[in-house]
């Protein structure tokens, strides 16, 4: 009986897209386990902190304060630049940047495997996180929310082959679509001409086309390209700038107010 039910679930999930709600229900069921695991990991961090020498904590606090002051200064500069940017956009008749609000999330699991490259974060529908919301870390775009439970959400990473994002090369303004290549951790830029100006080291940022990802967030850095591909024009390979495995704290850019 259970075998038949599993086979039925599997067939329905493979042939249609109607399993979103049951998946969310199961996701909510498993979330206590994920939270306990997260608490255990946090305990480990706490023990590490308690074992640190007082001198080291003082040094760390001083460094953090210094960094905070630097960041506040940078924020002030950015506010000025942002205001100027809005004014210029108005002059050019362009669309103003979306006013997105954000929520900080912790990575609680890498659910990546043969099924896809995803991470689970500890914010969900109760935090007004919705499907399609972009997710970034300190370095750039990580991916987008593809499943939102009550208190957790799944983020499809840039490197997944089913993930695409419209980008523009910052240096030259060449536009294209970045798609994941799978397990090797790289992305590929598609849809650009063979004579486009691309160099190793170029930074790609979100172009804002389609309205899903706001303009200007760093995405990836070009590491290599092949010009003589007769099928797709130029094949450009790039390394994502974001690394959720290292940062562990992500920011969800919410499209709806909390």
């Amino acid at each position: 009986m259970l075998g038949l039910l599993s086979a039925f679930l599997l067939m329905v999930d493979l042939t249609s897209g109607v399993m979103g709600t049951p998946r969310l229900v199961v996701s909510t069921l498993v979330s206590p386990l994920v939270y306990i695991a997260e608490a255990v990991t946090s305990l480990d961090d706490l023990v590490d902190e308690l074992l640190l020498a007082p001198g080291a904590r003082v040094t760390e606090r001083r460094d953090l304060n210094r960094e905070l002051v630097a960041l506040r200064t940078r924020l002030l500069e950015l506010e000025v630049v942002n205001a100027e940017n809005e004014r210029l956009r108005g002059l050019l008749g362009g669309v103003a940047r979306l006013d997105l609000n954000m929520v900080v999330a912790d990575v609680i699991a890498f659910t990546s495997g043969p099924g896809g490259s995803m991470v689970t974060i500890d914010v969900g529908e109760v935090h007004s996180v919705n499907l399609g919301d972009p997710v970034i870390d300190g370095a750039g775009l990580c991916g987008q929310v593809v499943g939102a439970g009550l208190t957790s959400a799944q983020v499809l990473l840039l490197t997944d082959p089913s993930h695409s994002v419209p980008v523009v090369i910052e240096r030259t303004g060449v536009q294209g679509i970045v798609t994941g290549t799978g397990g090797d951790g790289f992305v590929e830029l598609e849809g650009i001409s063979r004579i486009a100006d691309v160099q190793v080291g170029d930074i790609m940022v979100t172009s804002g086309l389609g309205g899903r990802f706001p303009y200007g967030y760093p995405v990836a850095q070009v590491v290599s390209f092949v010009v003589d591909d007769p099928v797709s024009g130029m094949r450009v390979y790039a390394e994502p700038l974001a690394n959720p495995a290292i940062s562990r704290h992500l920011i969800v850019l919410r499209s709806q107010d909390a």
Binding site: L2, S6, V26, A37, A109, P114, D184
Partner: protein, 168 residues
């Protein structure tokens, strides 16, 4: 409490423990490393391998089924994939428990490795059917190797815990 009830409780508890260990270790799987996703222990199949031999009267099958379903969500696999595999594995091991018991510890490692390879093969087949890109699929042999290598130690520990609970 009857011995069978104790065993059933232990079984259910250990399965939840297996799932917990997966969740606990999941952040360690660095997706930026090509084979990072595959450096994991398949705790639930390992526990099924133990309990299938240990309990001739198999404890409730819905427990491995539910664990499989939860793992489907955690890994982002098609819903029902791991549930079906764990159910099949539980049934097969319990049906052949007498044969498995006659094997030496090293032979059991090999048997577990083969079971896990079969499980990996089914998973990869279903994911391929689902149209998922399986770029580094050859690393799928890593979890069976790691899990089978851990079997002797796990077996000794589980036998000790099981016997102590039953006061045998």
């Amino acid at each position: 409490m009857q011995q069978e009830e104790v065993a059933s409780f232990q079984f259910a508890f250990s399965m939840i423990g297996g799932l917990f260990l997966y969740v606990l270790a999941a952040p360690l799987f660095d997706p930026s490393v090509p084979y990072g996703n595959w450096l994991r222990v398949e705790w639930i199949p390992l526990l099924l391998f133990f309990w299938g031999q240990r309990q001739p009267n198999w404890p409730p099958l819905w427990v491995p089924w539910l664990c499989g379903l939860l793992l489907d969500v955690l890994r982002g696999d098609p819903l029902g994939l791991n549930a079906l595999c764990f159910l099949g594995m539980a049934w097969f091991i319990s049906a052949r428990f007498e044969w498995f018991r006659t094997l030496s510890l090293i032979e059991q490692c090999l048997a577990l490795f083969l079971c896990l390879c079969f499980y990996a093969l089914i998973s990869l087949g279903v994911l391929l059917f689902a149209g998922r890109a399986l770029g580094d699929w050859w690393f799928a042999v890593l979890p069976p190797i790691i899990t089978a290598a851990l079997w002797p130690l796990s077996f000794v520990l589980l036998v000790r815990i099981h016997s102590r609970a039953l006061n045998v």
